[in-house]
Symmetry: C2
Subunit: 522 residues, 2 copies
């Protein structure tokens, strides 16, 4: 055939259709989606760093901790680190950490563990070749194309949780998808964690905003699982992200999070916020060295609190626009840093966290290609834990409902891409080729009909109709389809089962702690 | 820091700005773009097939050629193949090819070669770790968002050539970007190839639509380079894509293309059109086996015509929507097939061609994410030759001006992602970290200022402004920005230098052959 215009030939033997991005079938609320599964990465990790370069970055990171040191803004951390042999400059919060101390502390960090959900079907194996996807967290604004952009609010918060429960590709809740600023800051965490446990049965998140909030979240999760404290200590069921306040500083509320979570064997993700050219040197190499130093320091603290506590190494290195200081995501620098971050985490033997980030201001092609660059960087770097996987827009300043659906499609596609090909005599179908022969077609042959339903990935958002059918149906963009789809999924949402006694215990706890003033009563 | 909302902190120390996707600077027409370069892939090729699976696919492909055979719809091919020892079924066009014959023929195919352009700065090294990007080819329609979709025409054809010349990321012309149906079919090739040689100085394309057209194109390229025929025989300067008419058939006009091009040492890309579920079995494994069989047959023919003739193995396997027969691109099946195709081409020791394909009907997020899946599949599979790299929409039925710009941005980003990181004492900047120290920022430090201009990739399309600035400036989507950008680039276009004597020789040849009736005079 002369020209590679796919549709010309393929439409031979196939009729038109009315679009299939929705349909009856498996999954939540009539959404025809992939079943729940935790993808395993079959590929060899990509390497942007040579072994010598890893060594150089590692060496520089050690020298940063030894020669420059890091500020730990909490007396308990200074105490723990000092007792372990670190040098605390008297009258300051500056701590210099010897590489021997760091290496010894990190030696106890587990390479793999299970992060338990209220619904055991949603337990997450963390580490190795597995990758799990979480929602956007912490966006101060929400948006959809019907109502535009608005400050984060409780109703949007609840709706994002409903989407998170409905899409099988969401493995965990990556924070408050949007910040419900209409809830009082002192009690917001009580309502929000309770809602994560009631509207979803997936792994929840707690913010390390001081001891009181973390303890409340831990208690809610304990109640939600119906566990004793002793049981919980053997069962990681909650995670928190601790961002270093780069360069080289760990804030007090974050340190309290590290201490209380690690003590109880819950998961701490240490993520330096090394934006190259702003909070770290204006080179990817320099940003990675600083990231590695800060991550090692935070991870070491978790292990000094409780050797063996489950941790994750977070990589978030990106770059700024040098002319304006505006942060960028999904750039070539970001993507290589995401791949390199995996190498550095594996160098330490701990699971690796990356993100699905972009800096677009609306759900346009930029949002899609920057996100794809982020996702591919994460997957090729063998990230185990993809945060901000669904819904993130504007460099994290907005959670978008349409972006959530777009990301669900892109992550489903990635999950399917990670599925090994079946190459067997049966699948390869030599007899089918023989049956059809030169010049025929495979539409009706037995080998094809046997695979009619399951042969290929069925998209939830992509529209493969020809132009004429698509135009006649209204020329909808994928973002317009995403808008229809998220509303349909919300309309079809049903909450997961929850023992009424547990529900009552959760509500009672929230009511009591609210009466006590929440976090302000600490 | 509590939250990963990138922009909050980074804007400290940085002012607002008015957008920077355009600017004075290097490159064509005021477009600030990456300089011309041929990217080298620093990564290990990704492997979706195990060695045993490659063996099984290879074995099946040989059995297809030996047991089922392939139809060659031209007596010359039957003659060449028969003389080489293939079994031609008497009274038919069916040829069965023994694996010994195929292997022996393929042994002479070069692993690497140079594809010469009229401007030697634009010569293309093909093979090894290099990848080059070409425009969309053969779209029957063109579109932009001002004027919508229309049948291909000469004016649009010329404008796409101007874009191809203007963007440094375009390495070659991948066919007629859009089919100029307002030019007479008998003489269209004369005008079009002449225009490729005059409006651009990059490697051109000729269609294998019968002997007469290919000979005309060869002569135009010879004149365009000012070469003798003997010189041309040592200097690959033109390429053609030969699609098999899958399953298992090679059409007559294509065969004439193979023969005339190979005879003159010009480049033939053999690309089976194995759409899984339609023209090949409904499994990726089956489609790959058939692709491999058809590719080997076509490649063997080139080598029987002229041992050592430069060739490229084309992979174009994708899948259809089983419910409708609609072809899909950039799917999980497509991406894995693109990666596997690289393994199969390397198994034969020849360069590999893939595509930047998608099935979207407008330049929306689907166009971006399907294209990204295609590009990443190609790059991870170590494609050497990316066809349809810029402008392809609607499964190839439309060439879009805005998509062209979107692809230029995405391919520039990929090119930059393939650039190895610089990890040196100098770049890593330990002294900068020391100078800034805990809690500081890197905006003003010497290490940063020394890298102010060159530290990071500068996008041509992405807008990194914050939401408020972006909204105030009109809330443009990336597609709207692409629209402005392609018009600006067209307005700034200047043709590359061309010796007036060569220009005259080209025009004279076109005039003479037009008087003779063009292809109809054969």
């Amino acid at each position: 055939m002369t020209r590679e215009t796919g549709r010309r030939r393929a439409r031979v033997g196939a009729g038109a259709r009315a679009g299939a991005e929705m349909g009856a079938g498996r999954g939540s609320g009539g959404l025809k989606q992939l079943p729940w599964r935790v993808p395993e990465n079959p590929f060899r990790p990509l390497e942007v760093l040579t072994p010598e370069q890893i060594e150089m970055i590692s060496e520089t990171a050690f020298r940063i901790l030894e020669e420059i040191g890091m500020d730990f803004l909490h007396p308990e951390a200074l105490d723990i680190l000092g007792k372990a042999g670190a040098v605390v400059t008297p009258g300051s919060q500056r701590v210099r950490l010897d590489r021997g101390l760091v290496k010894q502390a990190l030696a106890s960090a587990p390479a793999e563990f299970t992060l338990h959900a209220r619904n055991p079907d949603h337990d997450l194996p963390i580490g190795g070749r597995r990758i799990v996807f979480g929602t956007v967290g912490s966006a101060p604004n929400a948006s959809d194309t019907d109502n535009g952009r608005r400050p984060g609010n409780y109703q949007d918060y609840l709706n994002f949780l409903r989407l998170a429960q409905s899409f099988n590709i969401v493995h965990y809740i990556g924070g408050y998808p949007v910040e419900p600023v209409d809830l009082h800051p002192a009690t917001r965490h009580l309502d929000c964690v309770r809602d994560m446990l009631c509207l979803t049965d997936k792994v929840p998140y707690a913010y390390s905003l001081g001891r009181r909030r973390i303890l409340d979240a831990l208690e809610l999760v304990r109640l939600g699982h119906g566990m004793t404290e002793a049981e919980m200590a053997t069962r990681p069921s909650l995670f928190t992200v601790v961002n270093t306040s780069s360069p080289l500083r760990l804030d007090g509320p974050m340190i309290e999070g590290i201490i209380e979570m690690a003590k109880r064997n819950q998961v701490v993700v240490i993520t330096p916020f090394t934006l190259s050219g702003a909070m770290s040197p204006a080179t990817v190499a320099g940003a990675l060295a600083q990231q590695h130093a800060e991550a090692m320091a935070g991870l070491a603290l978790t292990q000094l609190v409780n050797p063996g506590a489950p941790v994750i190494y977070g990589g978030f290195t990106s770059n700024v626009d040098m002319k304006t200081g505006a942060p960028a995501f999904g750039t070539p620098e970001y993507t290589r840093a995401a791949i390199a971050g995996g190498q550095l985490a594996r160098h330490l033997g701990v699971p690796y966290r990356s993100s699905n980030a972009n800096a677009a201001n609306c759900v346009d092609t930029q949002a899609a290609y920057e996100s794809q660059m982020s996702i591919w960087g994460a997957v090729m770097g063998h990230a185990n834990f993809l945060l901000h996987g669904l819904g993130w827009l504007e460099g994290g300043l907005c959670a978008s409902f349409e972006k959530f659906v777009l990301d669900a499609e892109m992550l489903q596609m990635m999950s399917e891409t990670l599925t090994p090909l079946e190459v067997t005599e049966e699948s390869i179908g030599l007899d089918a080729v023989r049956e059809v022969g030169p010049g025929g077609h495979f539409f009706g042959c037995a080998h094809t009909l046997a695979r009619y339903d399951s042969a290929f990935y069925n998209p939830i958002l992509s529209d493969w109709r020809n132009f004429e059918s698509w135009e006649e149906a209204g020329s909808e963009t994928a973002t317009q389809r995403a808008n229809r789809l998220f509303k349909k999924v919300l309309a079809d949402y049903t909450p997961p089962p929850l023992d009424p006694a547990i529900r009552e215990a959760l509500d009672d706890f929230v009511a009591r702690r609210t009466r006590e003033g929440g976090a302000e009563a600490a």
